[in-house]
């Protein structure tokens, strides 16, 4: 067996040229083959790739989908996002647990099944949902959960589930996808979700010089669709202007912001357009390699996307001298993630592509100066690339005429929560919140989460505001909460998410988020005091100022923006403490261990 292990691992490493920067692919392959990456496997990988053991181990320990201990052959990852909680995931969890006879985080004694929680898997519009190996199962109920376990016990092959419950619409039914996921496209706009001509943008782009392409993108005033909103043309100009013979285009398809799922729909229905945009990007900045960083949860789309890449190579839309343009070489590879929210942050994404833990990097240097493998790199969102392809086809003026003021074009919104029609909506920028609520069939609305938990919670006083960069900016995640929801509880659950996903590098983020979460729990337990508000605000600002990446810089937002916009909810439950004692200290619990050891009771409680 040991000899066998050595052989298999050497083969896997050889498949990636023993290149340590491909560590993600190597450890993923080992995990897939053996159900875990054992200490022996780590040693062998380190030998083959000439890496230190700790480099391999740090990758294995960092990502949620990787583990040293072997997991079951079938891993059920149930999504515990806030929206799933609202849709009754706890009952579904009990059903899975009872039917399998194990708790969460456990594996059945026969080593067949592992049951785990997972943060948002990008299915909020069809929650509760779970990932079973690479297979998405959606719209779960307790009965469905039990049925799934029984079906798997008869035939432990997760793909059978997709056909059992009916395939989804559009390309979800494609032979290479075969998924029950629904696109739920509820509103199409004139840029992305309408009918788009094949590669018209790319064909026009190569008639221009790279500088003219960048000028066109700049003239369109396109800004990054991932959330930060940096002008795309400017980013490309910087990347093109940076010194170095080798440059890279990275497409951020790690959408992990709870409540976001629009890139999943784009990759399912407009994959050609996304790759076309990446190719235009490669032409514009002078890159020959593009990487699509696909979140591990979306692995079910990979065969489909690889096939499209293959077709594009065959049609000379990728490869050498693309479309007959002399000297224009560009190809794209897919880099799989492995379950880490932080990798949606561009410098963490770069770390991950380099085969490292998904740690953010210090800036400057910014990726356009020194990114992937320390070479000039432009990281853009899936939707941004798709928009670029359309801009090059229809012209900057056409694009700039859509939207409002400085926010041009359309924006895909992933809308879920308390509404009748959750799904993906393509709106021109400038749409009013009130209109949006009407369109999605939301009633009795108390709050909206704009831009996911790293964005902000808004209440009724902001329903006249508009979605655009100057008013309510968003990467596309919108979650709706009706008047029955406890906003403090919602904020606390989102804090739990950040506690789990912090990479741990910056102390304010690693520790501060835990303290914010604890304080919200204390308030929820009825032990809150008015002074907790100031404490949360101070602590939140410290976390924001003391963290080097976007995660820590925004993670206190669930607490801070609910305090700002739902202050009355807090005030209603906060009472001043009378006696100067801390209500959270429980002496009885604190002496219980010693009482059991000494066999006597404490004299003071």
């Amino acid at each position: 067996m040991a000899k066998n292990l050595k052989q298999i691992i050497e083969n896997i490493c050889a498949r990636y040229q023993n290149d340590r920067t491909r560590m993600m692919d190597i450890v993923r392959a080992v995990q897939e083959q053996f159900g875990g990456v054992s200490p022996e496997a780590i040693d062998l990988i380190a030998q083959s790739t000439d890496a230190h053991r700790v480099e391999v181990e740090s990758v294995v320990s960092f990502y949620a989908f990787l583990s040293q201990k072997p997991k079951g052959k079938v891993i059920i990852r149930l999504c515990n996002d806030v929206v799933d909680q609202m849709k009754g995931v706890q009952a579904v969890a009990r059903a899975f647990s009872e039917e399998l006879g194990i708790g969460f985080g456990e594996t059945t004694p026969d080593s067949w099944y592992t049951l785990e929680w997972a943060p948002c898997i990008g299915m909020c519009d069809q929650a509760p949902a779970a990932l079973i190996n690479d297979v998405m199962v959606t719209n779960l109920t307790t009965d469905k959960a039990k049925e799934i376990v029984r079906a798997l016990k008869l035939n432990p092959n997760p793909p059978i589930l997709s056909t059992r419950y009916g395939l989804g619409d559009g390309n979800n039914a494609n032979a290479l996808v075969q998924s029950m996921v629904q696109n739920n496209v509820k509103k199409t706009g004139e840029v992305l979700l309408c009918d788009v001509p094949a590669d018209a943008g790319l064909r026009k782009a190569i008639q221009k010089t790279p500088e003219e392409v960048i000028a066109e993108v700049e003239a369109s005033k396109l800004r990054g669709r991932g959330g930060a909103g940096f002008p795309t043309g400017l980013k490309w100009k910087f990347t093109r202007g940076s010194k170095g013979p080798e440059k890279f285009i990275l497409c951020n398809a790690d959408e992990g912001e709870p409540g976001t799922f629009k890139d999943r729909v784009l990759l399912t229905e407009r994959a050609h357009l996304v790759f076309e945009g990446m190719t235009i990007g490669g032409y514009a900045i002078g890159a020959t390699t593009g990487i699509l960083y696909l979140r591990g949860e979306y692995a079910y789309l990979r065969p489909f996307l690889e096939d499209i890449l293959q077709k594009r190579r065959a049609a000379n839309l990728l490869g050498n001298n693309i479309l007959g343009k002399d000297g224009f070489h560009f190809d794209i590879r897919i880099q799989m993630g492995a379950g880490a929210y932080i990798c949606g942050e561009e410098t963490s994404l770069i770390s991950s592509c380099e085969g490292l833990r998904g740690d953010p990097k210090n800036r400057p240097p910014f990726p356009p100066q020194q990114g992937y493998l320390r070479k000039p790199t432009s990281v853009n969102n899936v939707e941004t690339f798709a928009a670029v392809a359309r801009i090059l086809d229809k012209g900057a003026a056409w694009f700039a005429a859509i939207g409002s003021g400085k926010s041009t074009g359309t924006k895909l919104l992933s809308i879920s929560g308390d509404c009748k029609n959750p799904g993906v909506y393509e709106y021109p920028f400038g749409v009013q919140v009130r209109t949006l609520l009407q369109d999605v069939g939301a009633e009795n609305t108390q709050a909206l989460l704009i831009g996911g938990p790293s964005g902000q919670f808004i209440g009724a006083e902001s329903f006249d505001k508009t979605i655009c960069y100057d008013d309510l900016a968003t990467g596309g995640a919108i979650v709706i909460f009706n008047k029955d929801r406890n906003m403090i509880k919602i904020a606390q659950e989102y804090m739990e998410f950040f506690v789990e996903e912090s990479c741990g590098y910056c102390t304010p983020c690693r520790v501060g988020n835990v303290l914010i979460d604890k304080c919200l729990q204390k308030i929820l337990a009825g032990q809150g005091e008015p002074s907790d508000i100031e404490y949360l605000q101070n602590l939140g600002n410290t976390v924001k100022k003391g963290s080097r990446c976007g995660l820590g810089q925004t993670s206190p937002n669930p607490a801070l923006t609910t305090i700002k916009n739902f202050r009355a909810v807090y005030d209603a439950v906060l009472k001043p403490a009378q006696d100067g004692m801390q209500p959270t200290f429980d002496l009885k619990a604190a002496v219980s261990d010693a009482e059991a050891l000494a066999g006597r009771h404490s004299v003071i409680h």
């Binding site: 006696d579 004692m581 200290f585 219980s592």
Partner: protein, 181 residues
């Protein structure tokens, strides 16, 4: 006019902060002019004689008696100050917080290197306060008004803080007294 009272206690600490308090040298005579010491190891008064203006707490809480004393201080003092690392963060005693209590005691009294204990038992008498499951900083048990960092805080820091509190003036500590690097 009666002088304001000051009380001090050393909980799970090493008395180093009290030593630092004594390090104010002859200024202790000035302090006596300003205040009267109530419950404190300095004068060995065991029980509060009345309401105190200031309570200085050294050390965190490692056992039930510490909790009792700390709560008594909170009840009797207008202003409560955590003095030093142990009171503020748990300090050295809190190093045991990652280890289960049973394991700690067994290592300390039975299995540990160099332990001589023919009885083979963990000491257990009603006179010994029960340990808490971990060491708590004071502010997790009662409200604390001020924190004086240091291990120990320098005598001048304690002196300036007490004077500022007693004279109701703002505290302006030079950088050298609060930097620890």
């Amino acid at each position: 006019m009666e002088k304001p009272k000051i009380a001090t206690a050393s909980l799970a600490g090493c008395f180093g902060c009290h030593m630092s308090l004594l390090d104010i040298d002859d200024r202790i005579l000035k302090l006596i002019e300003l205040v009267q010491f109530d419950k404190s190891p300095v004068d060995d008064i065991k029980n509060f004689t009345g309401r105190c203006a200031i309570g200085l707490i050294e050390g965190g809480c490692c056992n039930e008696e510490n909790v009792h004393v700390l709560k008594e201080f909170r009840k009797h003092c207008d202003i409560l100050v955590s003095v030093g690392e142990c009171a503020i963060m748990g300090g050295l005693p809190a190093l045991r917080n990652g280890i289960p209590l049973k394991e700690c005691l067994e290592t300390g009294y039975i299995h540990g290197t160099g332990v001589y204990n023919p009885s083979g038992k963990i000491p257990n008498s009603e006179d010994i306060p029960l340990l808490l499951n971990k060491v708590y900083p004071c502010h997790e048990i009662v409200k604390i008004d001020y924190f004086l960092p240091g291990c120990p805080p320098p005598a001048d820091t304690i002196w300036e803080a007490c004077v500022a509190l007693l004279t109701n003036k703002p505290l302006d500590l030079p950088y050298e007294l609060v930097k620890y690097d």
